[in-house]
């Protein structure tokens, strides 16, 4: 494969991981605008443990994921008292606070950034991303996924069925944070350098866009969304500096034509049904 192709696939893999991190809470109706913050926690934790204590990269990544997940759990409890747009804004504030905090932590270089020693190459990044994808796919076939949708569509009725809606929400939010931590760790070890400025609000917003543009109803949605945002600017390279203008117009048009996202549940069912039909014939 070409060097450029590899580089793009790595970007895509990391973007799919963080898109899945945004997808889980969104499937339960929570817009997390602080995913970049959780990525930063995962990335910095793994980078620090592997660089300062020479732990193996796998251990560092696991610790990064755990740290991000734990922070998610800690903030989910108070933050999930709010809902809808309030939650989106609370997570936005949280992401800003985390970014500002890393600007002040001298142990990881503060504004100067932090070099990351162990290197995660093409194979490592793609394997880990694939693992995350499979895990989320398996999760989506369990009762949990059903509860996420139910929680999103009608929390009151879901509660009446004896489901602890709050626990479902907290779980979705924390799991998303954990996956964001994995994404951040992959970023850290592949790109070998962390700066707080990398984890800004626009990154969080773009991740939310991956999911919303792709569709929040199936796991395929965030994947397609991440691919759209990763590959389209590359395909538009010929357009030189007009490429982001074309890109923006495409976002607006896609949302106008398919406001529920590119991949809706109905479309996914039709595709799956079609596949079965093909297999049968």
């Amino acid at each position: 494969m070409s060097g450029y192709g590899e580089a793009i696939l790595v970007m895509l893999a990391i973007n799919i991981v963080v898109a899945l991190a945004g997808y889980l809470p969104l499937a339960a109706g929570q817009l997390n605008l602080g995913i970049a913050g959780f990525m930063a926690v995962g990335g910095y934790t793994s980078a620090y443990l592997t660089s300062a204590y020479h732990l193996p990269m796998g251990v560092g990544m696991a610790a990064g994921a755990a740290a991000a997940g734990l922070l998610g759990l800690l903030v989910a409890v108070p933050v999930l008292r709010t809902s809808g747009i309030y939650l989106a804004l609370a997570t936005f504030a949280l992401g800003q606070v985390i970014q500002a905090a890393f600007l002040n932590i001298e142990a990881v270089g503060a504004a100067a950034g932090y070099p990351v020693k162990p290197y995660a190459g093409f194979t490592v990044v793609l394997s880990v991303a694939f693992g995350v994808l499979v895990a989320v796919l398996l999760l989506s076939r369990t009762r949990f996924a059903l509860l996420l949708t139910a929680t999103k569509n009608d929390p009151l009725v879901t509660e009446l069925f004896g489901v602890d809606v709050r626990a479902i929400r907290v779980a979705a939010f924390s799991l998303g944070a954990l996956i964001a931590g994995i994404g951040g760790a992959l970023y850290a070890h592949h790109y070998s350098y962390l700066e707080p400025q990398n984890f800004n609000i626009m990154l969080s917003v773009y991740i939310a866009l991956y999911v919303l543009l792709g569709g929040t109803q199936t796991v395929a949605g965030p994947i397609v969304g991440a691919a759209f945002f990763t590959l389209l600017p590359e395909l538009l390279r010929a357009g030189s500096h007009w490429r982001f203008v074309i890109f923006a117009v495409l976002i607006i048009l896609v949302m106008a034509v398919r406001p529920e996202g590119l991949i809706t549940g109905a479309l996914a069912r039709r595709l799956r049904f079609g596949k079965r039909r093909e297999a049968a014939s």
Binding site: P78, T82, L89, Q96, N104, F244, I251, A256
Partner: protein, 295 residues
């Protein structure tokens, strides 16, 4: 810190708050009435300022240039309504958000292509645009923004409270279906509101350019984020809250810079926002907002 410096810092904070107010009001109108976190507002803010700057560069008189800036901002906001809100009314509140971000990217990149990423110098209205009282320096431009923000908000509040279109807007804010059966023309009220939001953002952008003598493609980012914080702190949907929130954010920012350094300012500002959202999500003046139930 001496008393004189502290007094100057208070003035600085209030003046900065004056800049945040108008943009916070624009956000609060979009959220309060339409339940729409309109991310294109920082872009419209920038469009208003850039258009004014271009007109001035082309030798237009001040009044004409400002009119051009306001027109550009109004048109930009109308476009956002036409291609985001109108097509997606009644869907999840995240969806127009995505398209409004598309517009932010669009506006910024168009300006980037046209005029580059450099900050451009905005001509000064007069050589020393300041008032000096008892050792305090007060920016006239900022003072005008502050007063204008208050006047515009009183006007907007009056418009909402006392006029027919204002009642229509409030009716739509509470329940679009009910407003429809009462004969409110949603297809007119909503675009009108968007144009109002665009004009407020545009005024804010132009005042910003006059005060800080600069325009650039990304000028709306920082102020947009602070504007959102100000809106939430005051209470979403409450225009008086936006005023209070703008002032508070301005003061928190300036005082935290003065006491703890610029590195800590964002922690203070957004930490306050986070704390408020956890403790009192409806905001400081949330009780009397345009509408509460549906958020």
């Amino acid at each position: 810190m001496s008393g004189a410096v502290f007094a100057q810092q208070l003035v600085n904070g209030i003046m900065l708050g004056g800049i945040y107010m108008l943009i916070a009001v624009a956000f609060t109108l979009a959220i309060g009435v339409l339940n729409f976190l309109n991310f294109s507002i920082p872009g419209i803010f920038m469009v208003g300022a850039i258009a004014t700057w271009r007109a001035l560069e082309n030798g237009w008189p001040w009044v004409g240039a400002i009119a051009a800036g306001l027109l550009a901002a109004g048109v930009a906001s109308y476009l956002v309504e036409r291609f985001t809100y109108r097509w997606m009314r009644g869907l999840d509140h995240e969806i127009p958000l995505v398209s409004s971000l598309g517009f932010l990217i669009l506006f910024e990149n168009l300006v980037l292509i046209g005029y580059g990423s450099d900050q451009q110098t905005f001509p000064a209205l007069m050589p020393d645009f300041n008032i000096r009282v008892a050792g305090l320096v007060i920016g006239t431009g900022q003072l005008i923004s502050l007063v204008l923000a208050l006047v515009l908000v009183i006007a907007a509040s009056g418009l909402l409270e006392r006029t027919r279109i204002g009642r229509g807007i409030r009716a739509v804010a509470e329940n679009a279906d009910t407003a429809t059966i009462l004969g409110v023309e949603i297809h007119r009220v909503v675009p009108a509101l968007f144009i109002l939001i665009g004009l407020l953002s545009g005024v804010s952008g132009i005042l910003f350019a006059m005060n800080y003598l600069q325009v650039s493609a990304f000028m709306g980012h920082e102020i947009g984020l602070k504007g959102i914080a100000a809106m939430v702190i005051g209470g979403m949907g409450n225009i008086w809250g936006a005023i209070l929130g703008g002032l508070l954010i301005g003061l928190i920012e300036v005082l935290s810079i003065a006491f703890f350094g610029a590195n800590r300012a964002d922690i203070c500002v957004y930490g306050a926002l986070l704390l408020l959202l956890v403790v009192r999500p409806e905001g400081l003046l949330g009780g009397s907002a345009i509408v509460r139930e549906k958020l």
